[in-house]
């Protein structure tokens, strides 16, 4: 199996060398060895590991969670159910975030409807007034 420098691995996996160094600091990858000149050396398995990390990121996993997935993958006693559990919990997190963002989007809908007259001067803008009012209410409660 041929050895890859960090630059070649970065090109193969379509990430930057800085990203690889960051992954290494986060404990996600490690060079197989170092050259006599002290350069990091990797192989094709390292590239597969990076593809794994990228795909997991696309599914919403954080680097800490990906580290856990990689740990599970390397554990002899682990089973598919362990990975599935992590995937289900990630889906719950995403669904919860979607719910929160939908609430925020609906709040914006209300403000946008209130601002039907776009030719009003900005100091009469109902959106800015509503946001200022919300802030004033919070200040009032603090006093």
């Amino acid at each position: 199996m041929s050895k890859l420098t960090i630059g070649k691995l970065a090109a193969l996996a379509e990430v930057s060398a800085d990203t690889l160094r960051y992954y290494e600091r986060e404990g996600l990858i490690a060079p197989l060895s170092k050259s006599e000149g002290g350069y990091r050396l990797y192989n094709e398995d390292s590239a597969r590991r990076i593809y794994f990390i990228k795909h997991a990121q696309h599914c919403g996993f954080t680097l800490a969670e990906i580290r856990e997935l990689l740990t599970v993958r390397g554990r002899d006693s682990a089973c598919c159910g362990d990975v599935r559990k992590l995937a289900v919990e990630k889906k719950l997190q995403l669904e919860s975030k979607i719910r929160t963002m939908q609430t925020m989007s609906k709040a914006l809908d209300r403000l946008i409807v209130d601002c039907a007259e776009v030719t009003h001067p900005v100091d009469e803008c109902p959106i800015l007034t509503a946001l200022e009012h919300a802030n004033g209410t919070a200040t009032h409660h603090e006093n």
């Binding site: 159910g81 559990k85 289900v88 919990e89 719950l92 919860s96 719910r99």
Partner: protein, 86 residues
């Protein structure tokens, strides 16, 4: 009183403890309703209750345990709720 246990099918950790917890719950509260909820079939309901980890337990529509409790913990919580209502 109603208990919902959210689980994922095939989760060995979930199924191993279900029976013990169900038994202790039914012994503790008369007329207890025990429901095992496949989270993949009712994910909206799980999100409504704030479930972010599995397995988890909700009591009367409130998420109480984000991971499986021991039998003693479940029994103590059920008694606290029962006595609080009386």
């Amino acid at each position: 009183m109603k208990i919902e246990l959210f689980y994922t099918p095939g989760c060995a950790k979930c199924t191993a403890s279900h029976g013990d917890l169900k038994t202790i719950a039914e012994q503790t509260i008369d007329g207890l309703v025990w429901q095992e909820v496949n989270i993949l079939e009712q994910i909206d309901h799980a999100v409504d209750l704030g479930v972010l980890t599995v397995p988890a337990i909700a009591i009367d529509g409130e998420l109480v345990f984000a991971s499986l409790p021991t039998s003693q913990q479940l029994r103590a919580e059920l008694l606290r709720r029962r006595d609080g209502k009386n």
